[in-house]
């Protein structure tokens, strides 16, 4: 049964909940790999194509079609496993997970069951205050994505109440890696924070591995948050020997912020259920970004039986020691260490570095600095101007068509004195509009600071003459008042003057320097 959106669950105050209960987390993250082709066929994986244009007999599950494993996907899976400090299986098989659903062409999902490609690892997660928490990884396994159902009609866009449904199989068969943590215990009131930090750290790691686009808003990284509570002892201590409580699995958590909020909500909600003397129902819950609550989805009992068995259409995956060693050699520097190194190189404060990391701009800035920009300018452009524009337009900075070398070139134009900041922003408009490189845009738009001292001096004299009152104030020592004069000089110069020079000239003329 589906809970209706109108039924509002009771919650208890978060701090109150934490006094009586100890939360236990389990996080399942699905990562879509960025391989050019699907897991078991040669179809393209590009996001956003017209429905059912990236399909073939294999990923449509037509009678007789057979899967063939994408070797690149296996390599990515092994690299992810290695980066998560996992052991890599020397021999493992795919398995069929059997259940009926219209968006699953074969009515079974080709996945892995008791023989995952990677197992027994860990990921160290740094919280905001610098505390490091080690999350243990149970397993990482390979599987294929399902198609995507679009439910037409009805109020909620969900299957119940819909008039009809459409299915897009473009996503069916896209390679997925499912990464499952062991139960995360002993984090107490920091559970929501740990959940968020874990997903953030994982995303950073996957981005560094270049195995996925890791875009939560496009579903290429999806998190299911399992939460359960167990009662604290009378003295408020956590009890590790007490069996875990009944868990819920919250889906549709599509941003880092939502991960934190959803876990927090579930703790408050489950506490209210337990306080009322009722049992927590084992179920899938749905996170609502807008209202900030979870609602009941499918009741999920342990009796749900997927009848797993080894996939007979595929041969076992058996990476040799040499292959694993070669893949290990391709691993990037661990993001934590790398971050520290780059922060030192760039001279950023902790706060500045955290902003850069949270904005996902580490690589962009690194490339921009490599292309010749100063670290300060690179940070200013990517996490300032461009991030602001992206936010305002609800887009991603990657979508602007602006490259690190564009930004480095732009910074070069500013530093050489050809452009001032406002001119540089106009040049950026042009680059984003596809008008060419920064130099080409500046040339085409005639944007260049006037270097002719005579013209500037003439403009300064003209402005001083036209504003005797202000000039008098400056002469009298009110240096701040010069701002009004500078503005007018810039206007006089149609913006194409160096404001610093103008200021100096005004102060010289008025004997205030």
């Amino acid at each position: 049964m589906t809970g209706t959106a109108t039924a509002v669950d009771e919650v208890v105050d978060y701090d109150e909940a934490l006094r009586r209960y100890d939360p236990v987390l389990g996080l399942e993250v699905h990562v879509e790999l960025n391989t050019a082709t699907k897991m078991f066929c040669g179809c393209a994986t590009a996001f956003g194509a017209d429905p059912n244009t990236q399909v073939c007999p294999v990923c449509l599950g037509l009678p007789g079609a057979l899967p063939v494993v994408n070797e690149r996907a296996v390599e990515s899976a092994i690299r992810i496993g290695l980066a998560l400090n996992c052991q890599i299986a020397q021999w493992c098989r795919f398995a069929r997970k059997n259940y009926f659903y219209p968006d699953m062409p074969k009515n079974f999902q080709t996945s892995q069951y008791d023989e995952p490609i990677a197992f027994e690892g860990h990921l160290d997660v740094e919280l905001e205050d610098g505390e490091v928490f080690r999350v243990l990884i149970e397993r990482a396994h390979m599987e294929e994505d399902t198609g995507k159902s679009l439910h037409i009609g009805g109020a909620t866009g969900r299957i119940h109440g819909a008039d009809h449904s459409l299915v897009d199989y473009n996503r069916a068969g896209i390679p997925l890696i499912e990464i499952v943590t062991k139960p995360v215990t002993g984090v107490g009131e920091r559970a929501p924070e740990v959940a968020r930090a874990y997903v953030a750290a994982l995303r950073e790691l996957l981005r560094a591995l270049q195995v996925s686009d890791v875009r939560m808003e496009q579903g290429s990284l999806r998190c299911d948050a399992n939460v359960s509570l167990r009662a604290r002892a009378v003295d408020g201590q956590a009890q590790d020997d007490v069996p875990l409580g009944t868990r819920t699995e919250t889906k549709n958590v599509n941003s880092l912020r939502s991960v934190e909020r959803a876990v927090r909500f579930e703790i408050s909600r489950q506490a209210a259920v337990l306080d009322a003397g009722r049992p927590v129902v084992q179920e899938t819950r749905h996170w609502h970004e807008d209202t900030g609550v979870t609602t009941s989805g499918r009741v999920k009992s342990d009796a749900e039986d997927y009848r797993y068995f080894p996939e007979p259409d595929l041969v076992p995956v058996a990476p040799s020691r040499e292959t694993v060693a070669q893949l290990r050699a391709t691993l990037p520097e661990p993001p934590g260490l790398r971050r520290k190194r780059l922060q030192g190189d760039w001279g950023y404060s902790d706060l500045e570095m955290r902003d850069v990391v949270n904005a996902g701009a580490v690589e962009l800035i690194e490339e921009t600095v490599d292309a010749g920009a100063t670290p300060a300018a690179a940070r200013k452009w990517w996490t300032g101007e461009l991030a602001r524009r992206a936010n305002a337009e609800g887009r991603s900075v990657e979508d602007f068509g602006v490259t690190p070398s564009h930004i480095a070139e732009l910074d070069g134009l500013v530093r050489s004195g050809r452009l001032n900041d406002s001119m540089a922003r106009q040049v950026l408009d042009g680059v984003m509009g596809g008008e060419g490189t920064p130099t080409e845009v500046a040339d085409a738009r005639g944007l260049t600071l006037v270097q002719d001292e005579g013209a500037l001096e003439a403009a300064v004299d003209k402005v001083i003459a036209a504003n005797p009152d202000v000039a008098e104030k400056v002469r009298g020592g009110k240096v701040q008042a010069a701002g009004a004069l500078i503005g007018q000089v810039m206007k006089e110069m149609r913006g194409q003057a160096d404001a610093g020079k103008a200021r100096q000239l005004i102060l010289d003329r008025l004997g205030a320097a």
Binding site: P57, L60, G61, L62, P63, G64, A65, L66, P67, V68, V69, R96, N98, F100, P102, P105, K106, N107, F108, S165, V167, D305, R307, Y308, F309, P312, D313, L314, V315
Partner: protein
């Protein structure tokens, strides 16, 4: 015209190469034969006269233009309806796939077309290859050309009957537990199940993925070898396909030599439950091999006794999953549940599967679903896989002592239509001798040993070889075929009753 249909594929190939016959003439003769007798035999579910003639015309043009052609180019063939054929209906003998026209060719079919074999049509079969009599076809049974009141074996009764009734010189069958070999035995024809992985399964609608294998249905061992070398060989579209050259089957068939060959008679296949006449013809065939210089010993494969039980856990388990895709969502039959307004997807799936699958299919889906269920998996599916390993080990040990193994192919000659329909266990026992080869993945061949004294119906001998030693089957088979032919003076099928169009 009927003279043409009496020729073997090798003879037709020669006549085509010398210009004695054109491909159009050969194809036309077979289409006429189908029109004449298939009303009685019902070997075909779909005949594609137009497509076959177009393919034949193309071969004639290519030959006229002096192009180099495959040895079987212009020799028509019938294809079991379990293989996907682009533009041709593919039903698997099931109502649930009624009207489905695949947008692609199975690799086997693609290779046939590339070699220039005109595809005459699609042959009848037990629904999704589940059965040993072709009575479980949703489109009515196929009849045995030797006696139209009897079954042609199954599941590939259509392919074997088509060849036995001279409707096609060649046919493709598929063999999961014996769907090629027992039908060959009871129709007096030759059938080969190649090594698992020797022929691509891409486009073969899966019954049990780890057991299914497509292979030749013919009237002679050499014809089977020629066809085997067309369809065999590695296919990157099938992960379980073996990346190695096709064994030298044609050479072996031509050499037909058993001098010094060690032949093992499997003790567990041939005692109780085997018809006296079947055993007698089998023993005579073995004696002929001894006379030709083979060494014959008895070999024991103790775990073969558990093969049938293990097979009927593994097959339904895989089938229950393979057949899940038939859900009315994307292709095939769609049935709306009666009396339900705005039915859900699940309700449509259930109604369609209820109406679209026959009883035997439902029986096996239920069996497999149960065997894979948590709590039962280890006791059933898991245990069956262990038996499978032991059977493979029995084969390994046997092949350390001998080069090939032999047994009767099927315990009895063709039974009467309807005789075993209500007794699934006795139906399943028809495959008791052929199942071990599928469980172990080794190749097997059935060829005729003669007709039994008690009922005058054909019986067969099965030859088994180690994996990827398919050529040994052809060496033994061709040698025995020659010895028997000398004994009979004419091919066995020359003794079959003459079929004529009833009331035509």
């Amino acid at each position: 015209m009927n003279d043409i249909t009496r020729h073997s594929a090798a003879e037709l190939s020669h006549a085509l190469a010398t210009g004695e016959l054109s491909a159009v003439e050969v194809t036309t003769a077979h289409l006429e034969r189908i029109a004449e007798v298939d009303g009685e035999v019902h070997a075909f579910l779909h005949v594609d006269g137009e497509g076959a003639l177009a393919a034949a015309r193309r071969v004639d043009e290519q030959r006229a233009a002096g192009e180099e052609l495959h040895v079987l180019a212009g020799v028509p063939i019938a294809v079991k309806d379990v293989l996907a054929t682009r533009g041709l209906p593919t039903t698997c003998g099931s109502r649930i796939l009624q009207g489905w026209v695949p947008p692609y060719d199975a690799t086997v079919v693609a290779r046939l077309r590339a070699a220039g074999l005109p595809v005459l049509g699609k042959t009848n079969m037990d629904e999704f290859a589940m059965g040993s009599s072709t009575e479980h076809s949703a489109y009515g049974p196929t009849r045995n050309p030797w006696d139209l009141d009897r079954i042609p074996g199954g599941s590939g009764g259509g392919s074997s009957a088509a060849v036995a009734a001279f409707e096609a010189p060649l046919a493709i069958g598929t063999d999961t537990g014996g769907s090629i070999r027992p039908p060959a035995a009871v129709t007096g024809t030759v059938g080969v199940k190649p090594t698992y992985g020797g022929v691509s399964r891409y486009g073969l609608v899966a019954l049990a993925s780890s057991l299914d294998q497509a292979g030749p249905c013919t009237r002679s061992v050499l014809d089977a070898a020629l066809l085997h070398s067309v369809i065999g060989g590695h296919d990157p579209m099938d992960s379980t396909s073996i990346d190695a050259p096709v064994p030298p089957v044609v050479e072996a068939a031509r050499r037909a030599d058993v001098q010094g060959l060690r032949v093992g008679v499997v003790r567990e296949l041939g005692g109780e439950g085997y018809q006296a006449g079947v055993r007698q013809r089998f023993e005579e065939a073995v004696d002929l091999l001894v006379g030709a210089g083979a060494e014959v010993v008895e070999v024991s494969c103790p775990h073969f006794d558990y093969a049938l039980a293990a097979y009927y856990l593994i097959l339904p388990s895989e089938a229950s999953s393979n057949l899940a895709k038939f859900d009315a969502m994307r292709y095939g039959l769609r049935v709306l549940p009666a009396g339900v307004d705005e039915p859900s997807a699940e309700q449509v799936m259930a109604a369609t599967r209820d109406a679209g699958f026959g009883d035997e299919v439902k029986r096996r889906i239920i069996l497999g679903t149960y065997a894979l269920s948590s709590g039962y998996y280890d006791a059933y599916y898991g245990q069956a896989q262990k038996v499978r390993t032991l059977i493979a080990r029995d084969f390994e040990q046997a092949f350390q002592q001998v080069d090939v193994l032999v047994s009767p192919t099927a315990p009895t000659t063709a039974f009467r239509l309807g005789d075993k329909l209500d007794d699934p266990m006795s139906m399943y026992l028809q495959d008791v001798a052929t199942i071990p080869a599928n469980l172990a993945g080794v190749p097997g061949m059935s060829l005729p040993t003669g007709v039994t004294d008690e009922d005058g119906l054909p019986a067969g001998i099965q030859v088994l070889a180690p994996a990827m030693k398919d050529d040994r089957l052809y060496g033994v088979g061709a040698a025995l075929e020659r010895l028997l032919l000398e004994k009979w003076g004419a091919p066995l099928l020359a003794h079959a009753p003459v079929l004529t169009a009833k009331g035509a």
